[in-house]
Symmetry: C2
DNA sequence: CCCTCATATCGCATATCGACGATTGACGTT
DNA sequence: AACGTCAATCGTCGATATGCGATATGAGGG
């Protein structure tokens, strides 16, 4: 198996970062998460990572119609927003969703 | 009563724009909505409009620490995304949430 | 060791955003 | 008709986003 690497590399991950109590901070947090999601490619990435329970790497690049460097930037933005996590797995890098962050995002949106 | 105008002006509004079936289109739609939400001021605006069942106008400007023109631009972005609607009510303009769009957004996020 | 593969990062060009002040337009009031 | 008010738009500016190719970096394999 080489073509599609679906290695296991994601730790259990925390349950859910505390929902911000301060309304202003909640707004900013939601805005930050929404902004990170605010691009079709990043939506696709998140969806892909959520579906593939495990993690994927350069498969993401193959699945998207963008150059490798572009995809890497999108991954960085998602990582900066705390939505995903990347861990080095030998020669390749393994990305996985941060379930808590996604849950928080859903909660914040639901609370709109 | 002049200071805080909370006039009634929002029509019942449709129940919910159809959830896009095409996954690509769903991604783009979600991205568009998320992008529109991806700013603290716009989050605040949406939240404000959702809470005040009716509609508000220049009160939004007073509630935010930005110039009137800036708030107007944010309102325009939200309107372009289909999240809110603005109707002229005499000398002032009345904004209200598009409940269907918000529901769709929530549904799309939930389906992540 | 060198070489390759997989990612990240840099540098660049273009486009859009975010904020503002100033102007315009629409509407009531006087 | 002239005025004042409210809101949208214009023009501008710096900052950021988005895309790419080219280049660094790092881990493994020959």
């Amino acid at each position: 198996m080489k073509t599609s690497t679906t290695t296991e590399c994601c730790p259990p991950a925390e349950p859910m970062p505390p929902v911000p109590t301060d309304p202003v901070e909640a707004n900013e947090h939601l805005a930050r998460l929404a902004k990170a999601i605010g691009h079709p490619a990043r939506v696709a990435i998140v969806r892909m990572l959520v579906r593939h329970e495990g993690c994927i790497v350069g498969d993401i690049v193959d699945a998207l119609p963008f150059a490798q460097s572009t995809v890497s930037q999108h991954l960085k933005q998602l990582k900066d927003a705390g939505l995903i996590r990347g861990e080095v797995d030998g020669p390749r890098v393994c990305y996985c969703v941060e379930p808590g962050a996604v849950a928080l995002f859903k909660a914040l949106v639901e609370a709109l």
